[in-house]
Symmetry: C2
Subunit: 325 residues, 2 copies
Amino acid sequence: MLDLWKRYPQVDKQLNDVNSLIKKLMVSDNSAIQSLLDDCARQQGKMLRPGLFLLFSQLAQNSTAKTDRLIKIAASLEILHQATLIHDDIIDDSPLRRGTITLQAKYGKDTAVYAGDLLFTVFFQLLIETMNGTHYLKINADTMQRLLQGELSQMAARFQQQPVAAYLDNIRGKTAALFRLACLEGAYFGGSDPTTTKLAGEIGENIGMAFQIFDDILDYSSSTGVLKKPVLEDVAQGVYTLPLLLAYQTAPTEFKELLAKKQQITKGEVRQIAHLVKKHHGTEQAKLLAKDYTQKATAKIAQLPVTPVSQKIAQLAQKLLQRTF
Amino acid sequence: MLDLWKRYPQVDKQLNDVNSLIKKLMVSDNSAIQSLLDDCARQQGKMLRPGLFLLFSQLAQNSTAKTDRLIKIAASLEILHQATLIHDDIIDDSPLRRGTITLQAKYGKDTAVYAGDLLFTVFFQLLIETMNGTHYLKINADTMQRLLQGELSQMAARFQQQPVAAYLDNIRGKTAALFRLACLEGAYFGGSDPTTTKLAGEIGENIGMAFQIFDDILDYSSSTGVLKKPVLEDVAQGVYTLPLLLAYQTAPTEFKELLAKKQQITKGEVRQIAHLVKKHHGTEQAKLLAKDYTQKATAKIAQLPVTPVSQKIAQLAQKLLQRTF
């Protein structure tokens, strides 16, 4: 993974333990489920949510937090993330979803459904082990609901030119809510005071917003080789993200005919849309918004107690906007 | 619903409150999800799990249990059941699954996935509201895992003549685990002593085993009109239940050619299988096993403190084996 975390040796080391725990928990007697879970494990991502959790857990000086508990909560965040990824993959077959072998295509939809459900159960069990009796159980359940609402809103808006505000609402649920939780829980279970913990949640939300917008920008500006996933996939699936929505606002008539094709759009037409997004500065405008959120995060990070950790958090927030994948 | 519960006026009355609560909780801003949830609500089943929970909650004399809490836990059991039903419905399309409009076919697989996930979240939230800090959270999470493992084993065994013991293991997870939980929680949260509570769980498991076997018998012996769902659907989907497995043991050679067709089996051939199951007394043999489990339940019910409630529980266990749907 995790070049990102190499600069934070303590987090990097703990993330190895998180990974070992996740591998231990992502098991099933069912061979199809196990293969699917192994595939997920191999495609190991950036471990952003557990990494942020662990980094924020260091905010408290002289913390008495037990490492074992922190590792488990960090794992719960990644496992919830993986569960939602697996279920998000079960979309209705789009003719344009060629090129990608989705989990549902490789293993069947039923396997993908149950694999996601299994991870929800593991998530639930980790929470019960680590925070039974605390109000953080409810915060977790409410976050899970927000993730789901974000996904649902995105699904409902497919093939529609939704307003920018609606897009922002969706990603606040779909992505930023879990970043918020990671940072909030990191501060809380690390032993920070209530003011710092509240700030941590707000920082997490703003980092999450910037991260998702940047992710959506990369879908237009990167190449498949660098991004390690097919570019321009969102458009084909009717997910119109910020660069497109902003370019559309500038020149709606140029987009109208292409977007009217909806599910019937061809790969060539998708490339035309990408060209229009570029022509009308959709990605540049989106970058400005991502920077806004990073600045909001940075302003709040400046309110944290000044420690080496808060400096690292500030660096990380900047770094997430410089990545190429 | 619920002719079944008319004989138990207090349970019947409380089930109305459970239903109102479920309707209040099964809501979504997303119109597709809402329609799917409304369909589920309309197809209201027998409310066995919340009904058993409420009946067992009456076992304790002079209980100080708060009705509000009991209604919520009862609702959590039905909602978990509905969530698993919705996800079980997302199987890979079988050519023989005509005639049924499945939720996935009507609303799309993605909608069905998210609707189930939403109900898991509601389930989780109800538990946190009613039993945060107790060890029953873990019991619930473990039960959820057992349900899932039962489903997975059933999926793995599709189109295979599994041993009877493996079938029994599957239904112990898939069905009996939730019946066990309903009765166990009913006794516990109703205020019963530990001995009664433990017995309640065992009674629930045996009732659940008998119930599922009887359900599988009805798939062979009932008609579509009476059962209100297509008969012989399991075979077409490769789910070989007890009547078939027992008949197969008696005369394997007569089945071999037909079962070898697997997914390619025709409706006519499914009827031939049903005929063979009848000829080799598969349903009668299965009924004997169902009666065994009912007798086990009855023997344990006899160990409960003698009250009007324990008599009602004994009646109900018998009644579940006399139903026609």
